[in-house]
């Protein structure tokens, strides 16, 4: 059983939450963007997390062969940044250069409150992962003191 596996898993969590934070910031910054990158208005992005095996396939193979039983430990990875496919919000604003024939503008479907709450959640998750990594490191340091 390795201390370093725990640290790898925690660092994958840190990276995932940081990426999520970037995506949420992009959403907030573009909450009013009527021109997105595919013609229409900006579409809300969201991250898709996935639990993936911790990479060292030989280790996992050994674990299973030794009758490790239980579930394999998995780390987290962002497999996709998903664009929201809902219909955009229509706002009546005839003076806007992007207004259509009826005077409606298509605005992104971004609720500022939702994004802020998600940012808080991402921050907390990031802190939790950082604490977990720190704790694993403390345990390893303590183990070095055995017999001193």
């Amino acid at each position: 059983m390795s201390f370093f596996k725990a640290m790898d898993i925690s660092s994958s969590g840190l990276a995932a939450q940081r990426l999520r934070m970037n995506v949420l910031s992009a959403n907030l910054a573009n909450a009013q963007s009527t021109r997105g990158d595919d013609g229409g208005p900006y579409r809300r992005r969201d991250v898709v997390f996935s639990a993936v095996p911790t990479g060292n396939r030989f280790d996992d193979f050994l674990n299973d062969a030794a009758g490790g039983g239980g579930a394999q430990l998995r780390k987290v990875e962002v497999v996709n940044i998903h664009k929201d496919q809902k219909a955009p919000r229509r706002v009546f604003d005839p003076g806007n250069p992007d207004a259509d024939a009826n005077g409606y503008v298509e605005m992104p479907n971004i609720q500022v409150m939702t994004e802020m709450v998600n940012m808080i959640a991402a921050t907390r998750a990031f802190e939790a992962n950082a604490t977990a990594l720190n704790d694993a490191k403390q345990m390893a340091m303590k183990a070095l003191d055995i017999g001193r």
Partner: protein, 141 residues
């Protein structure tokens, strides 16, 4: 007198001494990566030495320790590299940032922590060995 004291360290001790040097170099590479985590076009570097040490120590095979030659690390006592030639290489990576930067700060921090723990463990093992030798020299009094 140094040769006398130098001769009582066996192969495993010299490996630990060599490891100390290598871990220091690795921590420098990781620091460079962290410092350049925002630099456009910077490719993350890696530093590997463990596989070479493992094969020198015959850890992959079932050969008992007394067969390995302490002379492989002839220079370990004078803190040179001995017979291994690790290299600094560009780490292959799948995720490239928009500005061509491939550094993942969190991964580098975790690597730094792991390196530090292993550095401390090598120091600790050498300390224990030196403690045993001191005890023997003092005759247990």
């Amino acid at each position: 007198m140094n040769r006398l004291v130098g001769g009582i360290f066996n192969f495993a001790d010299r490996l630990q001494m060599t490891t100390l040097d290598q871990r220091l170099k690795r921590s420098q590479v990781i620091s460079a990566n962290i410092a350049n985590s925002e630099t456009p076009g910077y490719r993350a570097l890696g530093y590997d030495f463990e596989q070479q040490l493992a094969s020198l120590a015959h850890l992959d095979q079932q050969v008992p320790i007394k067969v390995t030659n302490p002379e492989h690390f002839r220079n370990a006592f004078t803190t040179k590299d001995g017979n291994i030639e690790p290299d600094v290489y560009v780490r292959p990576t799948e995720s490239v940032g928009q500005d061509g930067n491939t550094v993942d700060v969190d991964e580098e921090m975790a690597k730094m922590a792991k390196n530090q723990i292993l550095y401390r463990s090598s120091v600790e093992m050498l300390n224990r060995k030196i403690g045993i030798l001191k005890y023997a020299i003092n005759g247990g009094r």
